[in-house]
């Protein structure tokens, strides 16, 4: 599958042809909206588009040496690209499945030899995977090495690469191993400090020393030598043609690079960083270590005193339920585990009500209700209010905010069932489609059940007058009490930005307890249809009046922003928030624009969470539930372990423990 370049091109490796197509794709900007005219006077609305200049022009193709061979070369390169993209795909897939814990943004994996980090006697070809020797090879002083592009990330847990000996050349003085950045490249791996190698001519291992130790068999043309680094116990072993040769090095330092060294003419080796299946069954070895680490976790001693552990877990669960306002469940749980709830039920229900409004996109009502129930909260916290308003603006664009919905021609019923909205809790892994139905059915019930109070709030929001101070309305409470049954099964939960995956899985757990599963699934299908039917979305639900209201609201928002800046100084987060929101209007189809992600209902979650936390804070309750805190801390610990070189983090994913 690899392209084979003619040998005389070997020095051409410095520019990798494979990079160009991707570079083009990344730099392509979506065309700005041109036709549709909107009565916009706010100049800032277009800001984002103008700012987003194409980052860099497409680089010109590399200057090729001999012009005579040019045509031929190009064809080779083109062909190579096709073969390469396949190979690249396979490589990415394999690396992902082997090293799922590695964050490649932070620590990229080695994918080829580095054209920059090598001795001049080394030539690279075949996408920097093939290494050949081009020095004189007279004495050990002519030895030459090359390192991979990146060091081995600790989060691999177990890392593995293979090298195939294409030709042993004159003497077969080849060394395969590891070295730290900066180790002299005019040497074979293993000869210097922080350098480790296994040499083909004598089968010895070299551990930062000029003299080798008897280690394994010799290797030569046709052999495949593998090198495995265990980042948990910091050891390394080699394989020959798929057979493990046993530990070669212990106490390895962190951040080693895969390295090969050659010393005599004619020596050629090919690397496999995952481009092809490995000869040695590395997955099997990794399975063993995953089991070991997980057994270690399972056996970890917890609380000496009996019951202490259980009590703590129950407390965490209870506080989690309360935090997310699952009042009925929280009540039932507290009762059965004999705990006290540290917040009044009414308060929980209030928060629950607000959260539902936010999550269904009815921001105007949410702000209104918050102001009613927690009169001073938003007054004191103008940044929060600003954030809520920006979200309201976005919901207006979306056509979901109550204000524009009234102006739009759509029936409240259909607007209430946001087919997309439940899915927003579902970050990629969410499976419980049934949760949608709960949300949906709840929403419609809600409308019916609390229509009186809703009418009231709507009236207010029309005028968008400054917050009044209404006394808590009994109607609200009554209304929500009517929802009690729904509440108990209502499982949608706001999720903290860093722990999305977590709460979903717990929500699944709750859901499964429900007895009406089969029916839910049917309803869910119906929902999906609705979704596809509404695929043609219109700005503010398509009503001109709503658009005007939205524009007006935008202006108010703009002036609020200016007001805030005058009073409290610049706030880049607020500025960006507003800019991003306004950018929506720059596109004819905001939903499919680069800033369209804001319209996605998943963006309601952080808003909802921030608001909820702010409310809880006023009651002197924790901003985050201890459970989410613990899960988040575990995740942070793992990424800290990755950064500090503890390889066992590779086999201890938090997700594995949340089923």
């Amino acid at each position: 599958s690899a392209i084979s370049l003619p040998p005389e091109l070997n020095d051409w490796e410095e520019v990798s042809p494979a990079l160009f197509p991707t570079a083009i794709a990344n730099d392509r900007e979506p065309a700005p909206r041109s036709s549709r005219a909107l009565p916009l006077s706010c100049c800032c609305l277009v800001a984002d588009v103008t700012q987003r200049q194409p980052r860099s022009a497409v680089r010109p193709p590399p200057a090729l040496g001999p012009s005579s061979g040019c045509g031929f070369l190009m064809s080779v390169v083109v062909h190579g690209d096709l073969a390469l993209s396949e190979q690249e795909k396979e490589l990415n897939q394999r690396l992902r499945s082997l090293y799922p814990a590695v964050n490649e943004q932070e620590t990229p994996l080695p994918r080829s030899w580095s054209p920059k980090d090598k001795f001049s006697y080394i030539g690279l070809s075949q996408n920097n995977l093939r290494v050949h020797y081009k020095g004189h090879g007279k004495t050990p002083k002519d030895a030459a090495s090359v390192r991979a592009t990146h060091p081995i990330p600790a989060a691999c847990g177990v890392y593995y690469f293979e090298v195939k000996i294409i030709s042993k050349g004159r003497d077969g003085y080849m060394g395969i191993g590891l070295s730290a950045q900066g180790v002299n490249m005019n040497r074979l791996p293993g000869w210097d400090k922080h350098s480790y190698g296994y040499h083909g001519d004598d089968g010895h291992s070299f551990c930062s020393s000029g003299t080798g130790q008897p280690y394994g068999p010799t290797f030569t043309t046709g052999d495949v030598i593998g090198c495995c680094v265990n980042l948990i116990n910091n050891t390394c072993f080699y394989t020959k043609n798929g057979h493990s040769l046993g530990i070669a090095f212990t106490d390895l330092p962190p951040n080693l690079y895969p390295t090969v060294g050659l010393q005599t003419p004619g020596e050629v080796v090919d690397a496999n960083f995952g481009q092809h299946p490995f000869v040695f069954d590395i997955e099997d070895y990794m399975r063993e270590w995953r089991t070991k680490i997980q057994a270690q976790i399972d056996r970890f001693p917890i609380g000496e005193r009996e019951g202490e552990w259980q009590a703590m877990i129950q407390k965490m669960v209870a506080s989690y339920l309360v935090h997310h306002s699952y009042c009925a469940t929280a009540e039932a749980f507290a009762k059965s585990t004999d705990q006290a709830v540290h917040e009044e039920l009414a308060s929980i229900k209030n928060r629950q009500k607000i959260q539902k409004l936010v999550l269904s996109g009815r921001m105007g009502e949410a702000i209104e209700t918050t102001q009613q129930l927690y009169p001073s909260l938003l007054e004191r916290n103008s940044d929060l209010l600003f954030m809520l308003k920006v979200r309201q603006f976005i919901e207006m664009v979306n056509g979901t905010d109550s204000e524009v919905r009234c102006l739009g021609g759509r029936s409240p019923k259909s607007q209430d069932s946001y087919p997309g909205s439940p899915r927003l809790f579902n970050s990629p892994v969410h499976k419980a489609s049934s949760s949608q139905t709960y949300q949906t059915s709840f929403d419609s019930n809600y409308c019916n059940g609390v229509s009186s109070s809703k009418g009231h709030t709507l009236a207010h929001s029309h005028k968008s007058c400054p917050p009044t101070i209404p006394s808590p309305e009994p109607g609200v409470l009554n209304g929500s009490r009517g929802q009690q049954t729904n509440v108990s099964t209502e499982v949608e939960m706001e999720v903290d930005h860093f722990s999305n995956g977590v709460s979903e899985s717990s929500s699944n757990g709750f859901l499964n307890g429900s007895s009406t599963h089969g029916i839910d699934l049917e309803e869910c299908d119906a929902d999906m249809e609705v979704d596809s039917a509404q695929s043609k979305r219109q700005l503010c639900g398509g009503s001109q009046a709503a658009i005007e209201r939205m524009i007006q609201f935008g202006r108010e928002l703009q002036s609020m922003s200016e007001h805030l800046r005058r009073e409290r100084g610049k706030n880049s987060a607020n500025k960006k928030m507003l800019k991003d929101a306004f950018s929506l209007l720059a596109y004819s189809d905001p939903w499919n624009s680069p800033v369209g992600y804001q319209l996605d209902s998943i963006q309601r979650e952080p808003v909802c969470s921030t608001l909820n936390s702010a409310i809880l804070e006023t009651h002197n309750l924790p901003k985050q539930p201890p459970l989410a805190l613990a899960v988040g801390q575990a995740a942070q610990c793992l990424s800290l372990m990755a950064r500090t070189g503890s390889g066992s983090c590779a086999f201890a994913s938090v997700d594995d423990y949340l089923h």
Partner: protein, 646 residues
């Protein structure tokens, strides 16, 4: 009611169990169990109590077996109630897995096995108990055949993917005992599909490194046995890349002592016949030096008791007892594995002998109290003795012949076979140990071996004598002939075992070398030897035997006086003539050699011999042979013809 009390009284209390048995509760329980008039509940309780009693000491089990509990419980299996059946099976399982229970009791009633097979489908418990009984009670090829003929493979294979780990594990164990040295079972196994997957692949999956060690090891055993039985090729990936590495892992320090023993023994067995597997294993995970750790456990009881005095008894003592118990098992397993590793490849042998203290360990292993260790040590020594280099160096340096000679004194046959075979190699001409061995008076011993009932021992005895006689002093040769006695020598020439015959001829040939020795031996034993040669040449023997015999004749023809024994024997000359015209070149060559020696010019009376043989028509034959297509034969004939021309 009484039963319930009884049950609760005995559970977990061995003394109570013994008491109950002494008081004669067992016959009473068995009686109740067998009464079809008793309620099912009562009968089940009886089975449960008996099951509990059987969990006690070995003595308890003996008493139960003496009370004929087995037939009673087997009878109970005919009942239709599953709970009762499970209780009976559970008790039967406990009894059958005890080493004191005679396995044969399972096979006395021929209807039992088929009935057990039919019960396999009843529940996970029946599956677990029955497969466990099978796994423990399949000890001989006959047992394998019985189980195989009753459909063990088809019935047990689906259990390999049972949701219950215990069932999977016991089913796997069944297959390992069924396949051991059984080609029929092994050949059937490779073609079995479990849920659409080949059985060998199911075993490979069970060897994955995250599976329990017990499962990995047993699956590796299954594949090893299938491979050794010829059902899987030794170069199959599931052997080379999976089974072999898995077994090497089982030898690692991280494993339990029992696992290390089993791993090493199975690995030794797997690669015994295949040099390629030996080569791979020798470089896998430092196996050779890993095995050196097998010797780092206490080797003698006295050493242990010394240590015991100094340490606290409760904790570490148990560990030590455990280690001691396994120490000799470990050593013998390591020796076996070394023997297997080094049986073919010179480089591996070198690597083994260079392992720390290796030769010392073998030497002390040869005189250990445990027969198993001695046998394994001598096997290892034998394997290494195939190396010319090792014979010349380490074997001599460590005087391994001394313990070896001691071992030969009164050892059981299996040890003797290995030891004498090793001795054969030590007696090779280039071995520096040959001299001291000769001086230690080994000839008597070897001669006694030639009188053994075991063909292997006879071969080794005569083989060692043959090696000893090669280019030996006259004194040694005379000693051999005297010690062996001509009677025994000629008895060996009519030995039913061809190997014995070949080596005896070899001994004769070595004795009959250099002219003075030939004349001396022929003058004293010429008549018998010529008789024996005639007998063999006239008999139904292989080409190799006849060739060897003709070579002896050629040696005799080289003697000064011995020649006449042939020249005066016209019958023998006719035989030589016949073999010169034989279709086999080797025989022609040997016969021509003989004639060439007879007509050799420089010796007394050569003229007469030449004349006589010309008269008999040998010249014509020689002339014809100068045209032979085989260059050796052609040369030999020409050289002979030149004797006439000179």
């Amino acid at each position: 009611k009484k039963n319930f009390d009884m049950k609760n009284a005995v559970i977990g209390n061995n003394r109570q169990k013994a008491n109950l048995i002494v008081l004669g509760a067992v016959p009473r329980l068995l009686y109740l169990l067998q009464q079809s008039s008793s309620s099912l509940e009562l009968r089940t309780e009886c089975a449960v109590v008996l099951g509990s009693l059987s969990m006690g000491t070995e003595n308890n089990i003996k008493s139960l077996v003496d009370c004929h509990i087995i037939p009673a419980l087997l009878q109970g299996l005919l009942c239709s109630d599953l709970i009762f059946i499970e209780a009976c099976l559970r008790c039967l399982r406990t009894i059958f897995i005890s080493p004191v229970t005679p396995v044969q009791l399972l096979y006395t009633d021929p209807t039992v096995i088929p009935h057990l097979m039919s019960l396999l489908s009843r529940s996970q418990h029946t599956q677990e108990y029955i497969t466990q009984i099978f796994a423990h009670c399949c000890k001989t090829p006959e047992h394998q055949t019985v189980l195989f003929n009753h459909g063990a493979i088809q019935n047990i294979a689906p259990l390999l993917i049972s949701p219950s780990y215990k069932v999977r594990m016991q089913a796997l164990k069944c297959f390992s005992v069924l396949a051991y040295e059984n080609a029929q079972v092994s050949m059937t196994l490779v073609n079995v599909l479990v849920d659409g997957e080949q059985l060998s692949q199911v075993f490979v999956r069970m060897m994955q490194r995250d599976k329990p060690i017990e499962m990995q090891l047993t699956a590796a055993k299954c594949l090893t046995y299938m491979c050794r039985a010829g059902a899987i090729r030794t170069d199959d990936n599931c052997i080379v890349l999976k089974t072999l590495p898995c077994l090497v892992r089982m030898c690692s320090k991280e494993r339990l002592l029992e696992e290390r023993v089993e791993g090493a023994e199975t690995l030794a067995y797997l690669m015994e016949p295949d040099i390629e597997l030996q080569r791979i294993a020798s470089v896998t995970d430092h196996l050779v030096s890993m095995l050196a750790d097998y010797f780092k456990y206490p080797s003698s009881v006295s050493a242990i008791t010394d240590i015991k005095r100094y340490i606290d008894f409760n904790s570490r003592c148990n560990q030590l007892d455990h280690d001691l118990k396994h120490a000799h098992e470990l050593r013998q397993a390591a020796f076996k594995l070394y023997a297997s590793l080094g049986s073919n490849d010179e480089d591996i042998r070198k690597k083994i002998t260079e392992t720390e203290n290796m030769m010392d360990r073998i030497v002390s292993g040869l005189s250990e109290s445990s027969i198993k260790v001695r046998l394994a040590a001598v096997r290892c020594l034998h394997s290494l003795s195939r190396s010319v280099q090792q014979l010349r160096t380490s074997f001599h340096d460590h005087a391994v012949w001394k313990p070896l000679m001691k071992l030969l004194q009164n050892a059981p046959d299996e040890v003797l076979v290995m030891a004498s075979s090793t001795l054969c190699n030590l007696l090779l001409e280039f071995s520096p140990s040959k001299e001291p061995i000769l001086e230690s008076g080994v000839i008597e011993l070897l001669c006694s071996l030639t009188q053994s009932d075991s063909p292997a021992l006879r071969v080794n005895g005569i083989w060692a004598l043959m090696n000893m006689a090669f280019q030996a002093d006259q004194k040694v040769k005379v000693e051999i002939v005297q010690a062996l006695g001509t009677e025994q020598l000629f008895r060996l020439l009519s030995d039913p075992d061809t190997n014995v015959l070949m080596k005896t001829l070899g001994l004769l040939r070595n004795l009959l070398s250099t002219r003075p020795h030939i004349d001396q031996i022929m003058s004293s034993h010429g008549k018998q030897i010529m008789q024996a040669v005639t007998l063999i040449l006239e008999g139904e023997h292989s080409i190799e035997v006849k060739e060897q015999t003709l070579c002896i004749l050629a040696n005799i023809a080289d003697g000064n006086t011995a020649k006449e024994l042939i020249m005066t024997n016209d019958d023998m000359l006719q035989k030589i003539k016949y073999y010169m015209g034989h279709s086999n070149v080797k025989l022609q060559l040997a016969a021509t050699f003989c004639i060439s020696n007879l007509i050799w010019n420089e010796e007394d009376g050569s003229q007469e011999r030449q004349d006589k043989l010309r008269e008999m028509g040998f010249v014509d034959i020689l002339h014809k042979l100068t045209q032979a297509s085989d260059p050796n034969l052609c040369d030999r004939a020409k050289t002979a013809m030149q004797q006439y021309l000179a």
